[in-house]
């Protein structure tokens, strides 16, 4: 029978399946961080259980870490306890940890690929919804809750039910200045934040194949914003080349064996999908979000919606609520939205290619005098690479602050946050109410668009700044 890539990975990880379809799935890779793991380790300790495979587990502190001078440690007492707890738990249970002073430290979804811990055909989980990022390598990667983290630590398996197959085909080529961030925002706008609920998404089509490994990660990363727990892309030569020689990639004979298996990972030509949609890349424009849900997207040459044009009462209320929170008026032009802050970073757009894209726009330019802007590299290695390329100087010369790696203002658990009513052009993934700080207003954009907004002081069209 013809099967999809998701079906194949699923079948290759089935430890057990009950008659009602409930399955026990083997987990090849488990990433953990300080926020969603303490209660899981506590549970193990209370039941006198061990971590079944410490060497299939990798830990890093990312959500709470400061992005300014780290020699002073963490000043917030609760954040410090959480990071210290991760450290002591890793020591007690024998799990490898990249500590705050390790240059490999960074956002969990950036370090996995960087180290070669993320591999095609694996089941990867983490107590974080953006685990979908790793699907870019042709793995089945999804976020889990803390009880499930404990379950994986204890058993190296997870209780799951099979999801539906949903294929999103993107064909064509992207216009100048349009990026994979715009593609995924367009997709979420089209399917809605619940559009992928109960599904695993496979991204396909010639545009997807033409994307770099990092651009693919941006797309898979935000799959969860469309409601699907996992999004994946069939692995190809670009993926194999990326992984070759990474510290945790297979070596020698194992590399050859792995490669042979990885090359077999693709959807059969006549496999059927429960759901399928098509997008034309040529028609995608630079996108922004105007509201408080990632599905609230418009193009940069568009206008903020008017609730009066909406007939559905629930949708109308929802638009009114979002406009009020965001402090916007109906029908105003996207480019008339004045911003206070710019954040470049996160597991969505904190990799080296993202920083290059923003730096290209910022070179020899100054940011607007009323804008505060920060760049938070996704990992210590991204930071190091950027500094070798001189990107840090471009950012600093233009008026950006150059920070230490972490999740930072994507969710504002550390000191980086918006004040009430402050407005931010952000390369992160969620524009929920209060996400970047109580009362803070978030507009999701690509790194190039964030750079353009920083220069102009308003949300602006990145295409004006392309040479």
């Amino acid at each position: 029978m013809s099967t999809t890539l998701y079906d194949k990975i699923w079948n290759d990880h089935l430890v057990d399946q009950q008659e009602d379809g409930t399955a026990l799935l083997f987990v090849d890779r488990h990433l953990i961080h300080e926020v969603t793991s303490p209660q899981a380790f506590e549970g193990l300790r209370n039941s006198n259980r061990k971590v079944r495979h410490p060497n299939l587990t990798l830990a890093v502190a990312d959500h709470n870490v400061p992005t300014t001078d780290r020699t002073k440690g963490i000043s917030d007492e609760e954040s410090k306890i959480q990071v210290d707890t991760l450290e002591s738990n890793c020591k007690e249970f024998g799990v490898q940890l990249f500590g705050m002073d390790d240059k490999r430290q960074g956002i969990v979804h950036i370090i996995g690929p960087e180290q070669g811990f993320t591999q095609p055909g694996t089941v990867i989980v983490c107590g974080d919804s953006h685990t979908a990022t790793h699907g870019a390598f042709g793995s089945l990667a999804f976020g889990i809750g803390t009880s499930e983290v404990e379950h994986v630590l204890a058993t190296q398996t997870l209780v799951q039910k099979k999801a539906k197959n949903f294929r999103i085909n993107v064909n064509g080529t992207l216009p100048l200045g349009v990026t994979s961030k715009d593609v995924i925002l367009q997709i979420i706008g089209k399917i809605g934040t619940a559009g992928g609920t109960g599904c695993v998404v496979e991204y396909a089509g010639d545009l997807i194949r033409s994307l770099s490994v990092e651009q693919r990660m941006t797309i898979c990363n935000m799959t969860i914003e469309g409601g699907a727990r996992a999004g994946l892309i069939a692995p190809d030569e670009k993926i194999f080349e990326y992984l070759n020689g990474k510290p945790m990639s297979p070596k020698g004979e194992n590399w050859e064996k792995a490669l042979e298996y990885w090359k077999s990972l693709k959807t059969d030509a006549d496999a059927s999908f429960d759901k399928e949609i098509n997008l034309n890349a040529n028609e995608i424009l630079p996108m922004i979000t105007w509201g408080t849900s990632p599905q609230d997207v418009i193009t940069i040459d568009g206008k903020v919606p008017n609730p009066q044009n909406e007939k559905d009462e629930d949708k109308k209320n929802s638009i009114e609520r979002a406009l009020k929170y965001m402090g916007l008026t109906p029908d105003m032009a996207a480019t008339d939205i004045k911003i206070d802050k710019v954040f470049i970073g996160s597991c969505t757009n904190g990799r080296i290619e993202d920083l290059r894209e923003a730096a290209k726009i910022l070179k020899d330019k100054k940011i607007s005098s009323h804008v505060d802007a920060i760049v938070v590299p996704g990992s210590g290695l991204v930071k190091e690479q950027a500094e070798q390329e001189g990107l840090d100087k471009i950012f600093v010369n233009s008026g950006f602050e150059w920070r230490e790696p972490g999740c930072s203002m994507c969710l504002a658990m550390n000191a980086d946050k918006l004040k009430p009513e402050e407005r931010c052009a952000s390369t992160s993934n969620r524009n929920f109410e209060g996400r970047q700080g109580r009362g803070g207003r978030t507009h999701l954009v690509s790194p190039g668009m964030a750079a353009a907004a920083a220069i102009s002081g308003n949300l602006d069209d990145v295409r004006k700044y392309q040479n």
């Binding site: 591999q119 919804s129 204890a154 209780v159 194992n254 969620r430 109580r438």
Partner: protein
Amino acid sequence: MQKFNTLKSIPAYLPIVNIDTDMIIPKQFLKTIKRTGLGKNLFFEMRYDDNGKEINDFVLNQEPFNNSKILIAGNNFGCGSSREHAPWALLDFGITCVISSSYADIFYSNCFKNGILPIILEEEKIKELSEYANRKEEIAVDLNDQKIIYGNNEIKFEIDPFKKKCLLEGLDDIALSLKKSDKIQNFENQLKDKRPWVFND
């Protein structure tokens, strides 16, 4: 885990769609290393003003809804982050049953790990039930018979049989899976032959 069997309560109605887990429990409360004590911060931003005072308009600040065990809400409830702090906060507040027309996948599965029953009903039925919240009348939930009883009416709801069993009996997932240790061991032995690189050896 606390067993779930039957439940009777005046439901609280929150007519907002896409309630995300950041709304249910904002990030400043994720710094805890415990599962308990989050109830007072449930829906924090909607529930308290800038000075930390309760906002009277918010439903869970009003009698009798501050004691509701059932929450009725708009579709796509629990979207966003995977934080299990969201069901922990609901549970700590006293809510053990949520009724919506749809849930985000991770939140949905997190509920079952904590003895919370998330019921899926059609929008139409939700509107009907919300009237009971408006009139401050009790409704009853019976998990075994998979029905909600309100006034002289009943609505049946669907639920995965295995999840139902775990809730009814308060079963510990990990203990159940560890009973399959032999199967896990077999799988791992085969994996070492088929895909040896997975083990990082």
